[in-house]
């Protein structure tokens, strides 16, 4: 009788204690699981050896004016084009054109004669045409991506087609007058 009432009150108290233990167990379990998921996902990110291959060096000495070479950096092509005076002038003139991804030519080339770009279309990753003399350069005289029809100008800026951004300028420096390091 009195005993039962006592037990009831204890049970009611016990309920809240149990709830607390239950909820905190679930919370600890959830946080623990989340803490284990991240290392697994992060293991899919580029590994140390992949990151270590992240620079390339090459010479620009032999590139004739008006032509270019393609070098490999991080498994991707990098376009190096020795621009003609007319191409540079056109690129400067287009600084004020209606650009989808506005950027002046001066910011895109450390030395205006040599335009160095990641040769990967910013739409879905194809390699644009325009490095070989036989290839089309698109309506703006730079590069043309055949996959879904993106046109880039003589500064590698997107002018027409589905790509949202300009061809990227990789981080690079001139080690001396004729040698460049990308990455």
């Amino acid at each position: 009788m009195a005993n039962t009432a006592h037990a009831h009150a204890a049970a009611a108290q016990g309920e809240t204690r149990r709830d607390f233990l239950l909820h905190s167990t679930i919370a600890v379990g959830a946080v623990g699981t989340a803490m284990m998921v991240w290392p697994l996902i992060h293991s899919m990110n580029p590994a140390a050896d992949t990151l270590a291959l992240a620079t390339s060096e090459f010479s620009i000495a032999g590139i004739a004016e008006g032509s270019g070479i393609t070098v490999v950096w991080r498994g991707k092509p990098v376009f190096v084009r020795h621009r003609t005076a007319a191409e540079i002038e056109q690129a400067k003139k287009d600084d004020t054109a209606d650009l989808r991804d506005p950027m002046t030519d001066a910011k895109r080339a450390q030395k205006p004669e040599y335009l160095i770009l990641v040769g990967v279309c910013t739409h879905l990753g194809c390699i644009p045409l325009g490095m070989k003399p036989s290839e089309p350069r698109g309506e703006y005289g730079g590069w043309f991506c055949p996959c879904h029809g993106s046109h880039y100008d003589t500064s590698g800026r997107i002018r027409k087609g589905p790509a949202p951004l300009n061809l990227a300028v990789p981080p690079y420096q001139y080690i001396n007058d004729t040698t460049v390091r990308v990455g």
Partner: protein
């Protein structure tokens, strides 16, 4: 002899009491599972899909015994399977064409559901599980196609993984994560192989749930009305026999292609080893993705194109709430039936567009087709649920046969 037999029976019963696997199968696909007696041949494609799943897993495991997931070796290991491994050509052609036939079967299975209203109450969850299986199949087949490391493997992988770069803000980080590097490369190939091996077994799990959900309301039927117990027959022997007959016909077609036209549905460019420095002039995905590729390219904006492409499949999840017409089967919905066939034709047209260069007429047609695809789901189906008068439904499956005059 008879005592011998009853001893066997006793052993079986002893086992059944401890693990009732026989009774489980009998209730799942046997004599204890009643199915409507009027199912037509379009109902064969579910069991055919299951057959193809098992075929893909068996051939896949044997391929994996000779395949090497490394960028310098993958292409040659597949050529070695074709030339040197005993029956390797057969196993590989069964697997590569098997993927195509798996999709043919599943597409027919899906359109069967669309025609007979199998997605409507009470089968919505069953329908969802089907859409999940379809999505998993697309992911599995995509990663499988990367494994032989030909030109189409590489550039297909590049274009498809780059779709995720359209996500604002985190897109590029996600793509780097998917690649495990700065382009599609060896880490990408390795993980694709691991996932290509895993996902089919995930599909097996979802197929289980799919069939479980099927058993709650039971099969729909060509009339789309609820089947009374008197209008049902046991799955075994009736539908097992019918499914096996259908399987025989199917196998003739499947193996005709495996033996005599094994490269008909494949792209010859995939017999050129992957070259990360040269994009082929015309990248085309496998035929079963073409309608969605057409939708992607129909839209000139990158993000919107990707959204429309994924949306075109995800919209299937809400189909039961877009088409709320109480009558399931198109046989009793004369207007819906017309638009069903237009929808199918539109899908085929989009598929054709997806294989062409995205310019000129194909581009115009893909835009019209994309518009129609969404118009069908978002405008037509809700509108028809509202206004369409159905033809009178029979009171039961037997009624039109027993009293045809009515």
């Amino acid at each position: 002899m008879s005592t011998e037999k009853s001893r066997l029976m006793k052993a079986w019963e002893w086992h059944e009491q401890r693990l009732p696997i026989g009774s489980f199968l009998d209730h799942s696909l046997g004599s204890k599972y009643p199915a409507p007696k009027n199912l037509n041949y379009w109902w064969n494609f579910g069991s055919l899909a299951l057959f193809m799943l098992v075929t893909m897993i068996i051939t896949g495991v044997f391929l994996a015994m000779n395949y090497t997931a490394h960028v310098t070796l993958a292409f040659n290991s597949v050529e070695r399977i074709m030339r040197d491994v005993n029956n390797g050509w057969l196993i590989r052609y069964m697997h590569s064409n098997g993927a195509s036939f798996f999709f043919i079967v599943v597409y027919i299975h899906i359109f069967r559901g669309l025609y007979y209203g199998s997605y409507k109450p009470p089968r919505e969850v069953l329908w969802w599980m089907g859409v999940v299986i379809y999505l998993l199949m697309m992911a599995t087949a995509f990663m499988g196609y990367v494994l032989p490391w030909g030109q189409m493997s590489f550039w297909g992988a590049t274009v498809i993984t780059n779709l995720f770069s359209a996500i604002p803000g985190v897109g590029d980080a996600i793509v780097t994560l998917l690649w495990g590097g700065f382009s599609v490369d060896n880490p990408t190939l390795n993980r694709f192989f691991a996932l290509h091996y895993l996902l089919p077994f995930v599909i097996v799990g979802v197929v289980f749930i799919h069939i479980w959900a099927l058993h709650v309301p039971g099969s729909n039927n060509p009339l789309g009305i609820d089947a009374a117990p008197a209008d049902k027959i046991p799955f075994f022997p009736y539908y097992v026999a019918k499914d096996v007959f259908g399987l025989g016909v199917f196998l003739m077609v499947y193996f005709a292609v495996v033996f005599w036209a094994p490269n008909m549905m494949g792209d010859p460019l995939n017999y050129v080893p992957a070259n990360p420095m040269v994009t082929p002039p015309h990248i085309v995905p496998e035929w079963y993705y073409l309608p969605f590729y057409a939708i992607l390219r129909a839209i000139p904006d990158k993000l919107l194109g990707v959204v429309a492409m994924f949306g075109s499949i995800l919209i299937l999840f809400v189909l039961p709430w877009l088409d709320r017409h109480p009558v399931r089967s198109a046989s009793f919905r004369p207007i819906f039936r017309i638009f069903f066939w237009i929808f199918l034709a539109n899908g085929l047209m989009l598929g054709w567009c997806g294989a062409q260069l995205a310019e000129g007429l194909p581009l115009i047609l893909s835009r019209i087709g994309t518009f129609w695809y969404f118009f069908h789901f978002i405008v037509l189906l809700p509108l028809l649920s509202w206004i369409e008068t159905p033809k009178p439904l029979p009171a039961s499956i037997s009624q039109p046969v027993l009293s045809p005059a009515e």
